[in-house]
């Protein structure tokens, strides 16, 4: 499958392997990391960003593609929606069918609330399902939530909101226990001890995993539990606008049946935005590891209603996306591959950096190697080697099949045996570090009965996220949002419903002289090629 140029380079990787394996590459100093990020991380490329001209974050930067969505009018601007005809009436409306939405739905149901979940595709069609490597929790003797806090706070460049990060680390062990009691099969030894590894930037081995199907195993348990509880799940139905009432509360959402094009009205006492990420906006033309529906819908909906964003200008590029073969371009190669010992190696066979630096640093170093002529040419660009045969040498034959079967299967499909040959990787758009701002209780500060959970939240991780803290955050903040929404719904009285904010936003855009000629949210990326 490899080209002859690739084959030549593989020889060098093989020649240096024994020598490389004798020492661990040095970690960078704080100063070296800062310099590298400034020179090569996409967040520092000014031409990838634009100024937001309207709304609560006016004057701040966001990726150009996100700014365009924020600068576009509602799909409903010229529609006449009859809000008196209510199709769904509930205590808690959960928008999004991923891990955060499902966790919220389960906990709200457990608390006795009437829950409805709406989701653009199917329940479980979400980034949660695709998370491979694992989930962090400080539950071993040499570890503590405080150590976890330090790792995450430093890894996120000291920008995480302390009240959010505290909840993340303090509730992590309970999140694992909750999942385990739902039936999630974590990797354990015979005595029941969790098999844990490092992730980039962790100081303790606290990565819990379910082979390399960690997110899938969690998501299918959550989905099964939602279905067992008979919580109504309205699939292929997007929330396209939030509804407000005359008291300034959120009052539900206007929904779009993705198949018939019909609009529906959901009335709710509380709303949880759990719409996930934005990878399908392809910031700076990067490929993405995200699922088909990751188009930042919830950010657009919340923002138009007046909820501020936080850290919307920081994006995570996962260092190891597939660079080759072309059919898998941008797909995720789990960080666990490096946790298990594989080194990052350039075209000349040099291990140019420690394999477990944080993701932003690791991605920047790959971009640097490729920019400086030390990358291997591929049909879609360049890449560096991830020396996977090292895993079999370090862990014994069969380690790859046992610990990362999805990776092995994905490559074998295209004739590449990662047990015997290294694989080519390049950064892929993976995660939005920023999102809607919430307080420690999960509510937005602008709208008293609107909650956000999961990747749509900004501030939990700061300006970079560690591996395994996202699967954790969807569970911790999803559960919290479900409980908090259920409790809040008991005291909320919805007033007269309206969509006045849509025209108010349109006026603001007009005043700012903006006309993108488009509407938002995007809902699905436009991949269909039309000849005319």
């Amino acid at each position: 499958m490899f080209t002859s140029e690739m084959r030549e380079s593989i020889k060098k990787v093989e020649q240096t392997r024994a020598e490389r394996m004798k020492t661990e590459p040095e970690r960078m100093t704080a100063e070296e990391k800062d310099a590298l990020l400034k020179a090569f991380h996409p967040d520092y490329r000014a031409d990838g960003f634009a100024e937001i001209k309207v709304g609560p974050n006016k004057g701040q930067k966001a990726p150009k593609e996100l700014t365009e969505l924020l600068h576009s009018n509602s799909i409903l601007l010229s529609e006449n929606i009859d809000l008196s005809k209510i199709d769904y009436d509930c205590d808690v409306l959960v928008i999004g069918g991923g891990g955060a939405g499902a966790s919220a739905a389960i906990e709200a149901d457990e608390a006795g609330a009437k829950v409805v979940m709406v989701t653009k595709l199917r329940i479980g069609d979400a980034n949660t399902m695709m998370a491979e490597g694992g989930i962090q929790a400080a539950d071993k003797e040499n570890d503590s939530p405080v150590q976890h806090y330090l790792d995450a706070f430093g890894g996120g460049h000291f920008a995480a909101r302390p009240e959010l990060l505290k909840r993340l680390v303090m509730e992590a062990p309970d999140a694992i226990k909750w999942l385990n009691e739902l039936g999630v099969m974590f990797d354990k030894d015979e005595d029941g001890r969790m098999v844990t590894t490092h992730g980039g930037g962790t100081s303790r081995k606290r990565m819990h995993a379910c082979k390399d199907y960690s997110g899938a195993e969690i998501m299918r348990n959550l989905r099964d539990e939602v279905l067992n509880r008979n919580i109504p799940v309205v699939e292929f139905t997007s929330a396209v606008e939030l509804i407000k009432d005359d008291k300034g509360q959120v009052a539900g959402a206007v929904l779009l049946n993705m198949e018939t094009g019909d609009y529906l009205v959901a009335k709710a006492k509380t709303v949880v935005i759990a719409t996930g990420g934005a990878g399908r906006l392809h910031y700076q033309n990067f490929p993405t590891s995200n699922h088909y529906g990751a188009t930042a819908d919830g950010l657009v909906l919340g923002y138009r209603l007046g909820a501020p964003l936080l850290y919307q200008d920081t994006i995570q590029y996962h260092p190891t996306g597939v660079a080759y073969p072309p059919q898998l371009f941008g797909a995720l190669v789990t960080e666990k591959v490096r946790s298990l010992g594989a080194m990052l190696v350039n075209k000349d066979g040099e291990a140019y950096a420690h394999p477990l630096e944080t993701r932003d640093v690791s991605a920047s170093a790959i971009i640097r190697e490729c920019a400086e002529g030390k990358g291997v040419d591929t049909p879609q660009g360049k890449g560096v080697w991830l020396d996977t045969p090292m895993i079999e040498i370090l862990g014994g034959e069969g380690t790859i099949e046992k610990r990362i079967p999805a990776m092995l299967r994905m490559y074998l499909n295209y004739g590449i045996d990662m047990r015997k040959e290294p694989i080519l990787v390049y950064p892929t758009l993976h995660y939005q570090n920023g999102g809607l701002e919430i307080g420690g209780d999960g509510f937005t500060k602008a709208i008293s009965n609107l909650l956000v959970a999961g990747e749509a939240v900004g501030g939990i991780h700061g300006r970079n996220r560690l591996m395994g803290n996202s699967l954790l955050d969807i569970i911790v903040f999803g559960r919290n949002a479900g409980k908090a929404a259920a409790a809040k719904s008991r005291t909320v009285e919805i007033g007269t419903m309206n969509l006045d904010h849509i025209s108010a936003y349109a006026d603001e855009l007009k005043k700012a002289g903006i006309d993108t000629g488009k509407t938002s949210p995007m809902l699905l990326p436009k991949y269909a090629r039309h000849e005319r």
């Binding site: 009691e181 039936g183 292929f236 699905l524 090629r529």
Partner: protein
Amino acid sequence: MSNMVNVYFYGKKYSVPGDMTIMTAMEYAGYTLSRGCGCRHGFCGACATIYRIKGDNTLKTCLACQKQVEDGMYVASIPFFPTDKRTYSINDIKPTQQIMMELYPEIYSCIGCNACTKACTQDLNVMQYIAYAQRGEFEKCAEESFDCVACGCCSVRCPAEISHPMVGLLARRLVGKYIAPETEHLKARVEEIRKGAYDDMIEKIMQKPITEMKELYNTREIEK
């Protein structure tokens, strides 16, 4: 541009680049997907697809996002398959052979044709994990079915009308919750946190100035 190949989507002929997957080739042909497209990376099972190569009578199954197009491929995606999931309360059931008999009795109608295994897009030994489920060997069933993405291709082909992915899922949940050994260090840590053992420490670190946090972070000891 790589070599073009002829493929037939729902019987209609399109010329598409030969290095594409079925999914990207459909988009190249002009289809806007909503059904039959989820994670696009082989984990969600949304894009179960059935195909046959012209001149060959064998019906094959695949995930559209993981399968490269071939010349003469007749393709139909399966937008939805009514897999029969039974509901239960995970807290009220027990990991006994009885529970499979109650919830999925049709597994005992398996005729051993192995069509499920042949149809599996993940190359799992599906018939074997159903056999384990019949015998109440839930750990083996869980292990054998672990990589299942619930695309449903097995169920589409099954003459006994078994919903295989649901059987595997039940077995895995039983193993995860009841059969795998309990994690003592996890229980202990949850209890410590509940009792407030870390409350002071976490409050303290939250209050520290950034300069001190930087020092702590940059000099922290990393477990080998």
